[in-house]
């Protein structure tokens, strides 16, 4: 499942996408996120497998939760959650 967490408003599209087919449930991203925006949730209610997701409290303000990790100058930055994700399951839309 491609899970797009976040929102779109007049200032842009702010989504973090977790490809749950790729996510291996290691929870490294949860530990890596300085804003504690990530958590582990059930991928399918009928199974016990856990995958990463943005917590409900952060979805509405994801742009601000992630602000401290985003590049401020011209140098590209690898985001901690993306860097921590070995199977490459996390993407940012902005």
């Amino acid at each position: 499942m491609k899970a797009h967490h976040g929102y779109e408003d007049g200032s842009g599209r702010f989504y973090i996408t977790v490809d749950t087919a790729r996510c291996n449930g290691c929870a490294e991203c949860v530990a890596a996120c300085p804003a504690r925006a990530l958590e582990m949730v059930e991928e399918d209610p009928m199974e016990e497998r856990l995958v990463a997701a943005i917590s409900e409290a952060h979805r509405r303000r994801i742009r601000y939760s992630c602000a401290s990790c985003k590049p401020t100058g011209y140098d590209p930055v690898t985001l901690p959650c993306v860097a921590a994700c070995e199977p490459d399951a996390i993407e940012h839309s902005w």
Binding site: A3, H4, G10, E42
Partner: protein, 300 residues
């Protein structure tokens, strides 16, 4: 003078409702399951008997989520002779899902809407647009109702039921008349430019002052809402087997305009579109109880 004034009408107040199947006997059932969807604006309870729809209710959410869950359940069970204690498995969903007092498990509304829509519209449904009270979700699912892609827009009330309630009140039009009335225009006006409900409301006040008739203002708002959710739908790549759930699915003014933008029609159902989430939760409850009895599942 003052006593000649008509009392202020609360036009946003949509009708609460309930239903139960008098032909179905819960006494003979092997599995009784239930789902409760506590949303930001409305709460629903659905009770199923051996996987068949038995009773449901839809009420306005109060200040307390646990109380709303209890009230919705009580309304659904009214006159059925069934008590909450006799229900084998209850799943809570929606915005207040963690606060449902008697639920055995909480499941996100994304999963529940997909599963509920799969039951209501048949297994051909692939794209679901849930237009809730305070957020809006586009979901793609497979033939079993399993989610493959979703995108939610849960930041603001534009494109949602709450926005429509605000407009019903502003224009003093009963909420169930908003959609039909908005279709009474000869020519489609340009949509209101603001997507924010608060700004859209002041924009609409301006239009009224300019002498626009109510139906034209409503048309402008409904088409703005349709256009906004169309963008959300496009981002998950909408397929032809498409259905709308939630309260706005009952507003033909928005539904027709979404269909016009898409170029095809949404699938209709005889089941109330507002109960989709609770229905999905009840279906999960049934499946989880089955799994528990066969020895593999979880029980609280």
């Amino acid at each position: 003078m003052t006593d000649e004034l008509a009392p202020t009408r609360e036009h946003w107040r949509w009708k609460e409702d309930r239903w139960h199947d008098r032909g179905l006997r819960w006494e003979d059932a092997s599995i009784i399951s239930a789902g409760i969807d506590v949303g930001s604006v409305s709460s629903q309870a659905v009770v199923m008997v051996d996987g068949r729809l038995f009773a449901w209710s839809s009420i306005r959410t109060g200040a307390s989520s646990p109380q709303s869950a209890r009230d919705a359940m009580a309304r659904a069970l009214e006159g059925t002779g069934l008590e909450v204690e006799r229900i084998h498995f209850i799943v809570g969903t929606g915005y207040g899902r963690v606060n449902v007092p008697f639920a055995h498990k909480a499941i996100t509304e994304i999963h529940c809407h997909a599963r509920g829509a799969n039951f209501m519209y048949g297994d051909r449904v692939r794209t679901i647009l849930d237009m809730g009270g305070q957020d809006c979700k586009a979901i793609r699912c497979d033939e079993r109702g399993k989610v493959v892609n979703f995108r939610m827009n849960d930041k603001c009330a534009a494109g949602t039921g709450r926005g429509m309630e605000v407009f019903a009140d502003l224009l003093q039009v009963p909420i169930d008349r908003v959609g039909p009335m908005s279709l009474e225009v000869d020519e489609e006006p340009p949509p209101v430019s603001s997507t924010c409900v608060v700004f859209a409301k002041s924009e609409a006040s301006g239009l009224l002052r300019q002498g626009w008739p109510k139906e034209k203002v409503l048309a402008a708002y409904c088409s703005a809402m349709a256009h906004r959710v169309f963008a959300l739908l496009r981002s998950v790549r909408v397929e032809r087997e498409f259905a709308i759930t939630g309260g706005i699915a009952k507003n033909p003014g928005v539904v027709r305009r979404i269909e016009r933008e898409l170029g095809f029609e949404a699938i209709r159902s005889d089941i109330d579109s507002q109960i989709a989430g609770a229905l999905g939760a009840a279906l999960f409850a049934h499946a989880l109880e089955q799994k528990a009895r066969s020895g593999g599942g979880e029980r609280r």
